[in-house]
């Protein structure tokens, strides 16, 4: 009895965490799933059928484009920046400063970031005015900042630093000995990255890119602050479904949209797991 109690003791430490997961993950997920299949208190497919609406599809398509493109931009530029950082002195000032700045910028999304871009690139933004007055260039154009291209630019602002933060440990994990061993066996720098460094970093790169995708896909505040007209992406459509006075009688459409997002992320995660399992047997 005593031994059993002792064995159960460490499990008790998990209780707060499990409680947290229950309150903030399991229960909301259940509410979403139940809500998506309920209408006016009865089981219904009305909300799910609502997902077939062309404007909902358009929002999902734009969300996917936004998430995939900013994940790609963030992954490429962020990994290059991370590589530049690991190539320098590991305890040097440049690296410490860059990682600190990235840590701040990765969390800089939301109203502040949207306002910063509005103040700089909107119709009467400082840079727009400057270029219009002194170079005769109109960078505002037809208002791209408030549409998908603008969202891509603004999201990249926090996606690139986030990639630096999450990818840096993986790059640090590339041992000097691997590089020297490859060199010693006749590899050029390109051959090392092609045959050793690249394959070794691939799972981490893919994982980081997935995190960026999910980060962009679920982002709301930045887009909400930047876009006041229309619902170009799914999170904004959920807002509209919850608050709009136009989409009356479809209160539970928001649940269906949230479920749609969960399914997209689940598919991406499953594809990632499958890909990593196939390409990286050595990780097991």
């Amino acid at each position: 009895m005593k031994t059993r109690a002792r064995r159960l003791l460490p499990t008790l430490g998990l209780v707060p965490f499990l409680g947290y997961l229950t309150v903030f993950l399991f229960i909301p997920t259940i509410i979403i799933v139940v809500g998506a299949f309920t209408d006016h208190g009865r089981a219904s497919l009305t909300n799910i059928q609502g997902l077939a609406n062309p404007t909902v599809w358009q929002a999902l398509k734009q969300s996917l484009i936004l998430s995939a493109s900013t994940a790609a931009i963030g992954a490429v530029f962020g990994s290059l920046l991370a590589y530049a950082l690991v190539s320098g002195n590991p305890s040097g000032l440049a690296r410490r400063a860059a990682t600190s700045v990235c840590g701040v910028l990765a969390q800089f999304g939301g109203v502040m970031l949207a306002f910063a871009f509005i103040a700089t690139l909107s119709y009467s933004g400082s840079l727009t005015d400057l270029l219009r007055d002194h170079a005769g260039i109109d960078i505002f154009g037809s208002g791209w900042l408030f549409a998908l291209p603008g969202l891509i630019l603004v999201y990249s602002y926090f996606q690139i630093p986030l990639m630096v933060i999450v990818f840096l440990p993986a790059l640090d994990g590339i041992r000097v000995q691997w590089r020297e061993a490859a060199e010693n066996l006749g590899a050029t720098t390109w051959q090392f990255w092609r045959h050793v460094g690249g394959p070794l970093l691939f799972p981490a790169f893919l994982g980081s890119a997935l995190l960026l995708f999910a980060n962009a896909f679920a982002s709301y505040a930045t887009a909400a602050a930047l876009v006041s007209q229309g619902n170009p992406i799914t999170p904004l459509y959920i807002r509209a479904a919850l608050t709009s006075e136009i989409i009356l009688g479809r209160q539970n459409l928001a649940y269906a949209l949230a479920l749609e997002m969960i399914v997209v992320v689940a598919i991406v995660m499953a594809a990632y797991a499958l890909l990593v399992r196939r390409t990286s047997k050595w990780l097991s």
Partner: protein
């Protein structure tokens, strides 16, 4: 064990006047060293003596400030590492974790454009050579430390390097595996005939594996000699004390003769010319005998299997370590009064500590 290794003769390797500084630290100081074709030379020394720096310069992983490196007739001093045609086994496990054992071994051949069939055949041969033919499809994380180093050795040899470089390849292994792999490395090196440079801080390893051992201190080689010579005729106090166990016995030198422990012995070359000093005497050169009225007192008697070590306190407070065989040792016990005498005909004398 099936081995089909190409019969080859190693090349001569010459390090001429190699120097390397790191800031104010002089890691290598005008180092000269010649490795004869097919020879295995071990560089032995404490941390920071420059042995690894020398090896990295030969490998091309670092560049010397002065001097040159010749492999056969080729001057490789400023040649990039990937063009030097050298095989290297690193201290820590350097296998590529995403490749199987066989792919690791075949890696260098793949870079050289060897066709798939030929490189797979060669990789299998090399794995057989190191006794891991049956582990070809395993990944590094599925192998023990000793197995990983065997694969690293096979990988280094697969490219038929002109020189084999071993950078403390056994230091991360446990004692038993270390001894086994040490012999294995020597066997394989003799079999392929590659000239090899082996860096280690472990004197037993160096003495056991090398044709010649170079003892390094402060960026220079203090003595380069065959293991027996190094042990029995150390050329300097540093070598004498670094290689094997050594007692410092107070003595007096005059006219090439040494007065020590009541005996008069010859002074070996390199000794202090005259005056008081310390005779450097190995434990096996000291004889301990139980005797009434002896000047020493036994502190401990340690049975080590084939030999027994006896620690004796002398009247001046110093401690001596002697080695005794079974019969003598059986008569000794702690606190016993003993006489201590030297069996050597001559000794090396260092300035007193």
């Amino acid at each position: 064990m099936a081995t089909a290794v190409t019969e080859r003769t190693g090349l001569e390797v010459r390090l001429e006047g190699l120097s390397r500084h790191f800031g104010d630290v002089r890691a290598l100081d005008n180092l000269d060293l010649t490795l004869h074709p097919g020879e295995l030379v071990a560089l032995l020394g404490p941390s920071g003596c420059g042995k690894t720096t020398a090896l990295r310069l030969v490998a091309g992983l670092d560049e010397p400030d002065a001097g040159r490196i010749l492999v056969g007739d080729r001057d490789v001093t400023h040649m990039p590492a990937n063009k030097r045609d050298m095989g290297m086994v690193f201290q820590s496990y350097s296998l590529f974790p995403h490749l199987t054992t066989q792919e690791n071994v075949a890696f260098g051949l793949k870079l050289r454009g060897t066709d798939r069939g030929a490189r797979e055949k060669r990789a299998k041969e090399m794995l057989e050579l190191v006794g891991l033919g049956h582990q070809a499809n395993r990944y590094a994380n599925q192998l023990s430390g000793g197995q990983q180093q065997r694969v690293a050795l096979a990988r280094a040899l697969a490219i038929e390097p002109s020189v084999l470089l071993l950078d403390e390849p056994l230091s991360a292994l446990d004692a038993k595996v270390r001894a086994q792999l040490r012999d294995e490395i020597r066997r394989v090196q003799l079999e392929v005939g590659t000239t090899a440079l082996f860096v280690t801080h472990d004197q037993e390893e160096a003495l056991a594996v090398a044709d010649r051992v170079g003892v390094m201190n402060k960026g220079k080689i203090e003595q380069l000699a065959e293991p027996e010579t190094l042990y029995n005729q150390p050329a300097s106090h540093f070598v004498a004390e670094f290689v094997g166990l050594m007692n410092r016995v107070p003595c007096h030198v005059a006219d090439g003769r040494v007065e020590v422990l009541g005996a008069t012995l010859g002074a070996r070359e390199g000794s202090l010319p005259s005056g008081p000093g310390d005779a450097l005497v190995r434990p096996e050169q000291l004889e301990v005998a139980a005797a009434e009225g002896g000047s020493g007192r036994v502190i401990t008697v340690s049975f080590l299997g084939s030999i027994t070590r006896v620690r004796v306190r002398m009247p001046n407070g110093s401690e001596l370590l002697a080695q005794a065989s079974g019969a003598e040792a059986a008569r000794l016990a702690a606190d016993q009064v003993v006489t201590v005498s030297i069996t050597a005909a001559d000794v090396l004398v260092a300035p007193a500590d």
